[in-house]
């Protein structure tokens, strides 16, 4: 199992796709943090909720972590490397578990880079503008741990989605359409159901807006459940389906 996980992690590292995703994530993050931090009025950055908002931008790393997870599976089907992969490890459950673990580890890297940059730049901006930090040590602990865990789990969700759909474009479009459109609509109209979606569960993990979202630990439980359920569906399909 360690051998397979190491192989999968090397697959993530050995193409430029991952670097491209990291670069895209950093660019988007800088854009959001700088725009919010520099353009918003001091008034609208003063209270706890405002500051949690500014410092949880790093959770958008979850999108990129999920894309990396999707690529780890769908590029194998797209380029046919799934054949040598299964020839070398014919017990497909081992391959899938290895991909899940490797994608979660890669997601952790995305989370550390994303949330690290977010915290560093965000606090420097607040400090520079003379806005006092309204967050407690507990707030920051929940924010950091929740964001890292959430971003890491999105890597596993990406593997699940990619395994189920196999088609790269379909999986990417499906993930983005669900995360940015469908789940937001669901949350807007039926918040009690919408907050159980993976995007809102991972938002909840950062500790923001617990009035409408789940509590951070409940959010973590829901996101883990999503990861496991998608992975399990992917596993059943992978064991049943022939490889062309």
């Amino acid at each position: 199992m360690i051998a397979q996980t190491s192989a999968e992690f090397l697959k993530i590292r050995s193409t430029r796709t991952t670097l491209g995703l990291l670069a895209g994530m950093i660019a988007l993050l800088l854009l959001f943090v700088l725009l919010t931090g520099l353009l918003a009025t001091a008034q609208s950055l003063s209270d706890r909720q405002d500051q949690l908002g500014l410092l949880s931008v790093g959770s958008l790393a979850g999108v990129f972590s999920a894309l990396a997870g999707i690529m780890l599976v769908t590029s194998e089907y797209r380029f046919g490397t799934i054949r040598p992969t299964f020839l070398f490890t014919p017990r497909r459950e081992r391959v899938l578990v290895a991909k899940l673990v490797a994608a979660v580890l890669a997601g952790l890297v995305f989370g550390v880079v994303g949330e690290g940059l977010n915290l560093a730049i965000g606090t420097v901006i607040l400090d520079g503008r003379g806005i006092p930090i309204a967050l407690s040590g507990g707030d920051i602990a929940v924010l950091v741990i929740g964001t890292l865990a959430g971003v890491a789990l999105w890597g596993g969700i990406g593997v699940g989605v990619g395994t189920i759909l196999r088609n790269q474009v379909g999986a990417v479009v499906g993930l983005l359409a669900w995360g940015f459109v469908a789940e937001n609509l669901l949350f807007a109209f039926v918040p009690s159901v919408g907050r159980l979606g993976p995007a809102h569960a991972s938002d909840a993990m950062t500790g923001i807006d617990t009035d409408h979202l789940l509590a951070p630990l409940a959010g973590a439980g829901v996101l883990i459940a999503w990861t496991l359920v998608l992975g399990l569906i992917g596993l059943v399909l992978t064991l049943r389906r022939d490889v062309d």
Binding site: A3, Q4, S6, A7, E8, L10, K11, S14, T15, R16, T17, S75, F79, G80, T81, R83, P84, T85, F86, L87, F88, T89, P90, R91, D242, V243
Partner: protein, 298 residues
């Protein structure tokens, strides 16, 4: 002794299409077997079932007496290449092999060994997108050889190779089998593998139509040899005496049927007959192969 490959009534159905229909055969160690048939005959489907990539509808295919997925560390027993293009274009050849060697728990030094073996060490750190088809074929072969396997399974390995590449592959497979190891190589062109294999399995419409040694096939299909000689009539008599039938052509040559140029040459030499021209009718084996495989299913 357990056959290296054993296929028993192997069957694969896709909806109403019977892609592989009750295929039974076995391979002994040290043999090079050509797995032949036109495109769509079911060759690749058979190989995929043999290698655990596709599940048979019924019947079974075993390697070394076990289902492929049951093998402990299969890369050490079986090396296989199903498509020459199974690479991520953005990954280097060496990294491609390293992902596989890690999965098989082989050292990175083995990666460099197989790269040297297929003469790709110079290009190993370049991304695969810059590789020619011949280089990709060799990288695929390198991946199959990583575990130093006892059985090599190659699907259409000569596709896209230039004549030099085909000769390289032929020499390589000969040397591989000379060690007592086993090769199963598929092709839709008999001529591509005729100089490499020592036995053939020919399938069409998913069914086995011929299982024989290459010599038997040559004899059976009536491959003919064209020979010119100042003593044509005497040569014809000598050949007939050896149970080789002959016909005279319009341009005063003799066609000896169901034999090889080596045999005709030896018979003529033994009889002291001068030979001015001696040529195997190269296409005849291919023609009969086409005849065998284009028959409509009964």
């Amino acid at each position: 002794m357990t056959p290296v490959v054993l296929s028993e009534a192997l069957t694969k159905r896709y909806g109403t299409l019977l892609a592989v229909d009750g295929l039974s055969f076995s391979l002994e160690p040290g043999t090079i077997t050509g797995f032949l048939g036109p495109n769509g005959a079911g060759k690749t489907t058979t190989l995929r079932m043999l290698l655990g990539l596709a599940a048979p509808t019924s019947g079974r295919a075993l390697v070394f007496g076990e289902r492929y997925a049951q093998l402990e560390r299969p890369a050490l027993r079986v090396g296989a290449v199903l498509e020459a293009t199974d690479f991520h274009p953005g990954r280097s050849g060496r990294d491609h092999l390293r992902t596989l060697s890690r999965a098989a728990e082989l050292p990175d030094s083995r990666v460099d060994e197989v790269l040297r073996l297929v003469e790709l060490d110079g290009a190993a750190n370049r991304r695969v997108k810059g590789y020619s088809l011949g280089m990709r074929q060799r990288l695929g072969l390198a991946s199959a050889l990583l575990g130093d396997p006892e059985l090599l399974v190659l699907d259409e390995p000569a596709n896209g190779l230039d004549p030099e590449g085909v000769r390289w592959l032929r020499d390589f497979l000969r040397a591989f089998a000379a060690d007592g190891r086993t090769v199963l190589v598929s092709s839709h062109v008999l001529a591509e593998v005729a100089q490499t294999v020592d036995q053939v399995l020919i399938i069409t419409h998913g069914r086995l139509v011929v299982e024989s040694s290459l010599e038997q096939l040559t004899a059976r299909v009536g491959g003919s040899v064209r020979v010119r000689s100042p003593q044509l009539v005497r040569l014809a008599e000598v050949l007939e005496h050896k149970q080789i039938s002959t016909t005279l052509t319009n341009d005063h040559a003799l066609l000896a049927h169901g034999t090889t140029s080596e045999r005709v040459g030896e018979i003529a030499f033994a009889a002291g007959i001068a030979v001015h021209e001696l040529a195997a009718e190269g296409s005849s084996l291919e023609e009969v192969f086409l005849g065998l495989t284009s028959e409509s299913p009964s």
